[in-house]
């Protein structure tokens, strides 16, 4: 008997001590977040948590008391009562009261969360298989945001950075002190856009638009990271979200920069490029966006992703090659990159694919070819 009592005592102590760790910011508890909504959710979470701990202590306390006091080996003789309606009514009425006490603040918070009216900024978020697209309504700013952690880091060939798997090539910038409304939808399967510090999580469903909102208070400028929270296929764990909250003035300058960048890219497409410039840019674009499926050296992967090396289209049919990049291949995993890459990048990656790994066709594809093909 002795060992058992000691063992059960220690395991319960372990459980209770673990729950006291919850207090310490040891990455064990929900984030309080930076917005009013996330704070009230955190308060609800802690309220229901402590209620459960309270009930747990009472119920388990009685159980352990009984396990020690009423043991047969201590001569306990079993009483034969098996019913007491008053006691039973008691332990239904009390939980009902507790639940009603919980329902009221929960309803208030939920109603606030559903009110996305009079927002100053509207961003349409579209989930793709394994990346996010952001359109700033009325600002003519639109871009894709991809995971920027390298494949080598994932496969332990490289050091993992501090924001491993939570870093992207283009961050979403939003102003603080303003209500930012998100219109969330999806291009293919169901995803879910989730940033813990904002307590914003909404499913992105094809054919649906879901709205949610955040109002980062002034003074809380900073970077907030989140991930896709609905199974969406192979790289479900590799499509993070990085939101940078900046002051309203920085936000305005950022918007201007994005539009300027867009014009520069359009202008750049009219310039002409040397073979080497296209090859270097092409190598970068290929490593970042195409290697995941077509292989580091263009060897392809199984029957799903065709190889680049010695491929008939790559070597002889440049128009088909450009068409695939711009329109994608319907019914396959090959997406259209028309909106994801600039004309220069598309021209560069095609030139690279046509001249790398022994494919050396020797000619180059110019951004202007891409512009003509886009018409």
């Amino acid at each position: 008997m002795k060992i058992r009592t000691w063992l059960s005592l220690s395991s319960i102590a372990l459980l209770l001590s673990l729950s006291s760790i919850v207090k310490a910011e040891w990455g064990v508890n929900m984030t309080e977040g930076v917005t009013e909504i996330s704070q009230s959710i955190y308060d609800l979470h802690m309220l229901i948590f402590w209620i459960c701990v309270g009930i747990g202590v009472v119920v388990f306390g009685v159980m352990f008391y009984v396990m020690f006091k009423h043991r047969k080996s201590k001569g306990a003789v079993a009483a034969q009562f098996d019913e007491s309606v008053t006691l039973e009514w008691l332990w239904t009425v009390i939980p009902t009261i507790i639940l009603i006490a919980m329902a009221v603040p929960a309803t208030k918070t939920l109603v606030e969360m559903y009110d996305a009216s009079d927002a100053q900024v509207d961003i349409k978020i579209t989930g793709y298989q394994w990346k996010w697209q952001y359109d700033y309504l009325g600002e003519d700013v639109s871009f894709f945001s991809n995971l920027s952690t390298s494949r080598d880091a994932v496969y332990n060939k490289e050091e993992k950075g501090e924001n491993y798997l939570l870093e992207v090539d283009k961050e979403v910038v939003i102003p603080t002190g303003q209500k930012v409304r998100f219109l969330i939808t999806s291009n293919d399967v169901i995803h879910a856009w989730w940033v813990p510090e904002f307590a914003v999580k909404k499913d992105a469903i094809p054919g649906y638009v879901n709205e949610s909102w955040v109002n980062v208070p002034v003074g809380q400028e900073g970077v907030y990271r989140g991930q896709c929270a609905e199974l969406c296929g192979v790289d479900h764990g590799f499509m993070p979200i990085v939101v940078r909250a900046v002051s309203q003035s920085d936000y305005a300058t950022w918007l201007d920069e994005q539009r300027a960048e867009k014009e520069a890219a359009a202008l750049a497409a009219l310039g002409d490029y040397s073979f080497d410039e296209l090859m270097t840019t092409g190598a970068e674009v290929y490593a970042g966006r195409c290697a995941a499926c077509h292989g580091q050296n263009g060897e392809g992967m199984g029957s799903m992703f065709p190889p680049m090396v010695g491929s008939d289209i790559v070597l002889n049919d440049v128009d088909k090659h450009i068409d695939i990049l711009i329109n994608g291949v319907a019914g396959s995993a090959m997406q259209s990159f028309a909106e994801q890459l600039t004309d220069v990048e598309i021209a560069a990656v095609i030139t690279y694919e046509r001249n790398a790994w022994g494919n050396d066709t020797g000619d180059i594809v110019t951004p202007r070819d891409i512009i003509d093909a886009r018409q």
Partner: protein, 184 residues
């Protein structure tokens, strides 16, 4: 002793309950659409509505955002000619969307509307919308598709912005005969 006849009877009875529940599973599909209609879930707004001359409520303006979105299977280019327009509740407006079939084969598309906030869905009235039927486009062709709509004045006060997203799907395999006829 085990009474054989009763056993068979209750087994058959419960088998029918199981079959009924199988049917109930399928009956939930139309039930779901009815339920969406009532609560305006996902902006499943009623079909064509005859033109009602509301008394235009000029004291209020509602911002209507019109967004074009595509499904992965849909290679067409599809965009709204006007992303945002302001209108007084009760005022009828016509909006154009532009679609062009950049592929080398004839295709049929289906636009699926979705309105948010969901509470606003029942106040959006449409007399004509390209999303009511399938839209065919021959290879390389492009065209403007129109929609005539208004927001009824009974729209709740606290709603100032209504977003209507049209997601274009490739429904060539679901094309109904007369749409295909229009193609060739």
């Amino acid at each position: 002793m085990s009474s054989k006849p009763n056993v068979a009877k209750s087994a058959i009875k419960h088998l029918f309950v199981a079959l009924a529940m199988f049917g109930f599973g399928f009956a939930l599909v139309p039930l779901y659409d009815v339920f969406c209609e009532i609560t305006g879930l996902n902006g499943k707004v009623t079909g064509t509505v005859e033109k009602v001359d509301y008394t235009v409520d000029t004291s209020r303006t509602v911002t209507v955002q019109l967004l074009a979105s595509k499904n992965a299977e849909m290679p067409w280019r599809f965009m709204a000619l006007q992303e945002q327009i302001d209108l007084h509740p009760g005022e009828w407006k016509q909006i154009g969307f532009w679609a062009s079939n950049t592929t080398a084969s004839d295709m049929v598309s289906q636009a699926v509307p979705s309105i948010t906030p969901a509470r606003a869905a029942e106040y959006v009235q449409k007399t004509e919308c390209f999303c009511f039927q399938q839209q065919p486009l021959a290879a390389g062709e492009s065209k403007q598709m129109n929609m005539v709509f208004t927001i009824s004045p009974e729209l709740p006060e606290d709603i100032q912005t209504v977003s209507m997203v049209y997601t274009l799907f490739d429904s060539t395999e679901f094309a109904d005969p007369e749409t295909v006829a229009k193609l060739n």
